[in-house]
Symmetry: C2
Subunit: 172 residues, 2 copies
């Protein structure tokens, strides 16, 4: 039903009137660099087990977007990073997700597979397994990270112009 004063369907309790709002979710992650290498994770959990991605995941209650990105890097890759800036915002509106991808510097090359990763690796550009990336947005972020080397204080990038087909496939 549409609650009083609202303009769209919501889940409303017929007894008490409680309205259960459903809103888009924020995914936070980071492109983490150690010298000329990028921290990649091989997924140990569905979907896309065995495919490679950047550390990222759902933002949790009570944390900032930056906190969340650092937490995901630790949870998935056991690495400690300093965030540099916000590289990109990807609106995946067909799945009601907003992805915030930060640039980060690793404090050391130390990393290890967390419970959601089969393995982690510090990869040079030539080592990136482009045919085994879990989602199109992994490639977007990797390419944009490379494109913005040496740049600072820029507006966060969005989905690349060639991205609509990719976007449709980006569901997680």
């Amino acid at each position: 039903m549409v609650p009083d004063g609202d303009n769209r369907e919501r889940l409303v309790c017929a007894d008490c009137g409680f309205v259960r709002y459903e809103n888009p979710r924020v995914i936070v992650g980071a492109v983490c660099a150690w010298r000329d290498r990028i921290l990649m994770c091989r997924r140990a959990i569905p979907p896309r087990v065995g495919m490679w991605c950047l550390p990222s995941g759902f933002m949790e209650l009570g944390e900032s977007t930056e906190d969340g990105a650092r937490r995901e890097v630790w949870e998935e890759a056991r690495a400690t990073v300093d965030l540099v800036d916000l590289l990109a915002i990807y609106n995946l509106s067909h799945i009601s997700q907003v992805h915030l991808m930060y640039r980060a510097r690793m404090r050391s090359p130390d990393c290890a597979a967390g419970p959601e990763s089969q393995e982690v690796a510090l990869m040079t550009w030539d080592e990136v397994p482009w045919d085994a990336l879990a989602y199109p947005n992994v490639a977007w972020a990797l390419r944009q990270h490379r494109a913005m080397r040496g740049r600072a204080n820029f507006a966060p990038l969005g989905i690349p112009a060639q991205g609509p087909a990719d976007e449709a496939a980006a569901g997680r």
Copy 2:
């Protein structure tokens, strides 16, 4: 309970195992300019009825952050705008909100109170009712909008440095 493979408490159905995830919400809004004036709305609904704010509200399912900002401008102030860029990201982690405030240009000075506004106004800087703003983040966005006049392609701003006390009061 903590679901298998997770690391924090979630609401889980004891019968079917369905996990009800709760995540932070995104608020989208805009500082909308017509020449040297800014579009302000006087709230008609709780909280802070009668106080002034910028058009903003909860992002909805199926829309992008930009779509949401334009929708809120229309719903609250019946104005049509072109978004320019992302002015600021405010993490209000104590209330699990992420605010994305865009810069926007009005296509005309046409505006009118939507159902959630008592009135709307195009205000010069000297007309802003600083003592009657609904939330600290309204002042943050207004000041940052002014500070960034003539600037383009910058990293979105955050909560101003003098902001912690403001932040604590920013609950909506």
